[in-house]
Every structure is written in C-alpha cells, then in structure tokens.
Symmetry: C2
Subunit: 411 residues, 2 copies
C-alpha cells in the first residue's frame, strides 16, 4: 500500500493545483499498486513529520514531493534529518551534477545552488539528471520513504527511473486491471438507467465508476487479482456487452482523448482537417495540435473572433450576418465551407456561439452554440446546442461537441 504526501503551502492556499499527486497515482495504479491516501500539508516541519508518521502507520511505501528546492521556504531535507535522526552532508556526486547542470546552461553556480548538494547522511541519493535537487530514499522500519522535488518533470523522472522499477521488483504479483469506456452526449443518470441491468449483473468483484466531465462521461470497470489474462478477458467481455447497450454514445476507450481518436482516424484515412473558430477562440485547434504528429492531418485554423474577420477572411456574406447573426446555421455553415476551401482540407469544422457572460439575448441566450462540418463530398451539416451560463464550461463543451461531430463523420 502506497501513500503520497504533497508538501507546500501553495497547495493549502490553493495557488497551485496538485497535478503531481494525480500523475503519481495514475502511474502507480497502472503498475498495480494501490494508493490509499493522498495528503497535502504545509511547509512546516511539525506538519510534515506528523504526516510522515501517520502515513507510515498505514502504508509500506511513502512518497513525498516538494520542499527540496534551493530557496529559504524549502525545508524538507532538514525535516527528514530530524525524522530519521541524521544530518546534512555535502554529496560530491550531486555537487558535480549541479555544477555541470549550470555549466551546460552557461550560468554561474550560486551558493544557494551549491547547497543543493547537501543531503541527509543516511539517505540513498537518487540521480536527477533533469534538475538540480536530487531525490532521496530512506529505508526505515521495513518501509520505503522517497522524497522527490515538486517540479513535475523532475518528479516524473525519479518516479519512472527509480520508484516504479523499485516497487515492481519487490511486488508480490498483485495486479489491477481497468477498462474505461468513453462516451459523449448523454448524462450519467440517463446512462445509468439504460445500463441498469448490465450494472446489476456485474460480478461483485468488478467495480464500476461513473466519471462525468462537461459533455463527456467515462465509465470505468476495475478488477483486482493475480491472473491478468483472465481479468482482461472478463473486462473485455463485460465492456463488449456494455457497448451494445449504448453504441451511439461511445467514442473511445482508456486514456484516449477526442482529439487523439480523431487524429488516428484522419491519419488512417489519409484525410485532413481545418477549423474556423469563433467562441472557442482557438481551443479546438489547441487541443488538436497538442497531439504529437498532428501536422500530418491538421492544416490550421482561422480564428474569426471579430465579425469583420468572418467577412473578410472567411467570406461570410454581410447579408447572412445581418439577417441571421454570427450565431446561426447559415454563418457556421459558410465558415466551415470556407475553412475547408481556404486551408485546403478534407473536412472544415466551425463553431460560433455565445460563451458569455455577456452577449446573450432572449432568442439566443448565453450558451447558444452552432457547430458545422463541411465534409469531403461537399456536403455540410450544422447543429445547434444550448449549454449553460459559464464561459469556460461553454468553451469546453462546445469543443467536445465539435470534436464529437468530426468523430461521428469519420467512424
């Protein structure tokens, strides 16, 4: 059993979101290790020691992040010395690493950075080639404690190169298997009604979780045991039965994203996509281009935030804008056709809507969004959506609905 302790005042005052612990939990889980608790505590010695003590009562492996940096508010090393009754000493290998790190960057070695080579005497030093603060491992009372920097990619390096391999080499073969089915366009309670009988028939040792986010519900099946092949085939069978119940809502599996799924389909078919965005303001293009290799199928986008741009660049007719407005089937359809043509793509996807908080009218309240798709055969479809009154959520839901529309056309 593993516990994670995230150290830092910034977490307890909400200035930083604890993405480190989710990433660690996911990696641990995929490797077959249960995380029992994630605890965030402040940069105070007593609190860190208390959290360490409590976690050690419950878990065999205690993973800590944060407070290893070079500045005054970083006190984890001193606290670890107190907790394990040891002292700080200069470690030559770490000093060499710090020195060469700053040399490579052409920067001078300051006293603060020099002091990063101070490590607790009883600790095993874990190399951190991507940063300056090393990881520290302690074995104490049959338990393993690992302290890592809070900088995400430094922590990730130590997790991937030290923690996970070490835990795997000591594990007793217990495995967790998940199967996650990704859906769009149906709320969790309606889904639950449709799949009720299937859910009740799940063996008691299969756990089902509904994970809702704006526009998307993920259904996660979980089994634990030692026979990986058997568990995988059981979950495969169960999820196949599930897919037959809700075929039109499913767009993917596992950790996939809509933009990944679409990217794969476009690549397979050798087709390309371009977008014309108004209310989503580039968010769809951003999501598509966050996928490595997306240049193979994504041509680009025209973000027509201003109506002038819709006219001048996308050639939406002044008439159309006057008569029907920027948020209308007529406007989005012209935008989609233009994006396809101007950017020389097989598909043209367009969005225009009122994200809010301002700009709503009685006819078209905040949350009204039109989405259109121009297809390779020259046809164009459009659809109206009515989302809510929260800007960020509307942008997210519009992007999900737009990507889902492309998915449906491609599948």
């Amino acid at each position: 059993m593993v516990e994670i302790i995230s150290i830092g005042d910034e977490l307890l005052i909400g200035q930083v979101i604890n993405t480190n612990s989710s990433w660690m939990a996911e990696e641990l889980n995929l490797a077959g290790f249960d995380v029992r608790q994630i605890t965030s505590v402040s940069d105070q010695g007593d609190e860190i020691k208390r959290a360490l003590h409590e976690a050690s009562q419950r878990a065999d492996v205690i993973l800590m992040t944060g407070g290893l940096g070079p500045t005054k508010d970083d006190i984890t090393k001193q606290v670890l010395c107190e907790f394990f009754s040891t002292e700080l000493v200069i470690n030559d290998r770490v000093l060499e690493n710090v020195r060469s790190f700053f040399e490579r960057k052409g920067l001078p070695l300051t006293q603060l950075n020099h002091d990063q080579a101070l490590v607790p005497k009883s600790a095993t030093v874990i190399d951190n080639p991507v940063g300056t603060a090393p990881g520290l491992a302690f074995e104490h009372g049959g338990k393993l404690y690992v302290s890592m920097p809070g900088v995400p990619y430094e922590m990730k390096h130590i997790m991937e190169h030290f923690v996970i391999p070490r835990l795997v080499s000591q594990s007793k073969g217990n495995i967790i298997v998940h199967k996650t089915i990704l859906t769009h366009g149906i709320g969790e309670s309606f889904m639950a009604e449709i799949i009720k009988d299937w859910e009740n028939d799940l063996y008691p040792h299969i756990k089902l979780a509904y994970l809702p986010s704006p526009g998307v519900v993920r259904l996660r099946l979980t089994m634990k045991g030692t026979d990986q092949a058997l568990m995988e085939s059981t979950l495969e069978e169960k999820s196949n039965a599930l897919k037959l119940l809700i075929p039109t809502y499913i767009w993917g599996e596992g950790k996939q994203t809509l933009e990944e799924v679409i990217g794969k389909l476009l690549k397979q078919k050798g087709q390309t996509l371009a977008t014309a965005e108004s209310c989503t303001g580039g968010f769809i293009a951003h999501r598509i281009t966050s996928i490595p290799g997306s240049s193979a199928y994504f041509k680009g986008s025209i973000i027509a935030y201003d109506n002038q741009v819709k006219q001048n660049l996308l050639g939406v007719e002044a008439n159309t804008l006057d008569e029907h407005g920027a948020v209308s089937s007529q406007t989005v359809e012209q935008m989609a056709v233009s994006a396809k043509k101007l950017l020389n793509a097989d598909y043209g996807l367009s969005v225009s809507g009122i994200a809010g908080p301002d700009g709503g009218t009685t006819d078209k309240p905040v949350g009204t969004v039109w989405i259109a798709l121009a297809r390779p055969d020259g046809s164009v479809v459009s659809k109206k959506f009515l989302f809510g009154d929260q800007r960020q959520r509307n942008i997210l839901r519009a992007a999900n609905a737009a990507l889902a529309m492309v998915f449906i056309a491609l599948r």
Copy 2:
C-alpha cells in the same frame, strides 16, 4: 482550522485531478481561514470514516466533496449516517428541487434521481439550485461538517452561498493577507540571489514563497494578524522595495494572468491584437479569448500549422521558407506583419517553432522557437528562444514568452 476531505477512487488512481480542493483552499484562504490538510481517500466506507475521524482531531471545520451523486458508487450519504448514527429519510424540499430540475430540462425523473432526495435525518439540508444532490451540514461535538457534491460548480455554489458566509459569521477576526508579484524571464535561484538582502530583511512574521511554473515565477508574501490595513500597507511597502530590485521581470500582481494584463492594457489604449500561430497551434488565441470581453481587443488568429497555409493565407514567401525555413526570424516577421494587416489589428504577434518530439535538427533542435511582434508604427521585432524537449511545456513556455513580448511593448 479547516480540513478538506476529497472522496473518490478516481482521485487515488489519478484519473481526475483534484481541482476542487485547490479552489476551496483558495476561497477559504482569501476569507482568512487556514487549511491545515487536504486528504484524498477512496469511495470505501471505512476509509471515509477514518479520514473524518482523523480530521476531526485536528480541525473545527471539516469540508467533504464527492460521492453524493445518483449512481451506485456514491456512498457518502450512507457513510455519514453511520458516522453520525442517523438514517436516510426523504426530504420533500429536495425532492421538489430534483423534480423541477429535470422538468426545466424537459427530462423524466428516474428512480435514481428520485433517491437523491434521501438525506440523513440529522443533517441540515443545504440548497443546491444548480444541481440535484443537496449539500449536507452536521454539527457534532462542537465541530462543523459539510458534505458537498463533487461536481465543481455545484460545490462552488454551496461554498459561496453557505460555507464561506457561515464561517465568516463565526470567525474571530483573524485575517490572512497575501501579496503576490508575478515575474517572467528569470529562474527562481537567480531571482533569489538578486533579492537575497531584501529577503533576509523581511520581518520574521512575513513569509516569502517562490512559486515557479514554466517561464513564470510568482513571489508570494504572506502575513497573518488582525489589523488588515497595517498588514496591507506593510506588504505594499515591502513589495514596492522588491519591485525596484527586479523591475524588468515584473508583469503583474496577485491572481492576474498575462492574458488578463495584456487585455487590460489593450483596452486602456484602445488598441487591438491579432496572432499568427504555428507551433503553439491556437493556444495563445485560446488564452486571450478565455478572458470575458476579449472581443473588444482581439481580432482573431490564423493558425498556420501547415507551411502551405503560411504561404497561401499569410503570404510568407516561398523563398523565405526555402532559404531560412519555417522556424526563422524572416518567417515569423512576415507572419506577424501579415496577421496585423489581414486581421486589421494594431499589433500582430506570431510564433513558429519546433515543439517536438519530432522535427528537430542539429541547427534547430526541438525547443527552438521564434517569436515576432509587428507594432502599430509599422516596425517589427523578433526573438529566438531555446526551450526544452517536452512538447506541452514548450507550447506553454512559447505562449508565455509571446504574451510577455506583447506586455513589454504595451507597458
């Protein structure tokens, strides 16, 4: 003292990032309440009860989120009944709310949703007009326990309308004051060297934290006490002295973002911005348009992910692309000038680079990014950056550097 307990297996397997607890911690902190610990535990009754018991040993106020939904994996209500020795009963007001919620959406009331009106008998029911699961408050042993849904905007509604007002009405007037200074373009250890003497001279009761993120370091000063005016003027004085030490790196204060600061400056000056993005793929436009009211100063963008689009739409010369490549001062400068002209804006901002993981060469390794800005007077500047080898991080750093370039031109 407050503690937050986040309930849900999805947190412990890392499938969901715990943004709820950061948001809550920030709101509590701004209202003057310390969060001592944030704990994430699984959907198991024993774990929830253990976390409740432990938190009640340390804090007076225990806030819980998650597990109140309509589906089978939501067990918080049953667990609360066991913890507080009470039972579930139908609450008519909640039933009415659930009924009208589904009526407004034109959806039927399922049995699962009907059961959301079941609440622990000894709980005070907290209205949730934006969802179906009500909040639940318990007073027990002189402590306050509040259970809220895990859906972020439902939790936020209950925090804003019940929890914060209730805590403020009971508080003894202790206040936390923060001042956060936002910088760009300098690493934390170099900053620490420059401001060393200033930092050492801070009163012992002022706490300084360095909060680094890609390209941006936030410096947060914190004081606690009862005399708000005195604390604010002290922090004002200290931060003014700090600003004199690092004037060129500072772009904002508090919770501002670069896109907000730029938006305000553009609005003040009555000027407009357009972008032309290659490797950032729309992320800059997305950040700018995430600000409500950005349509007043943002014209739009041309996302030229494909070199064809750079030529055809942005008019980058074929010669330039052949001789200097898409990642060059020549190309980004032409892109910036075109964006300014085609989108009829005062400023044209452009980015072209190699985000990775592929596309790097010996001359131009992954992480090479050129950024250009075309200014109202017709001049254009460009600058080369060398970031790292991680795609998402490179996109983020390129966007920050680009927005910082606009800030410098505007200030």
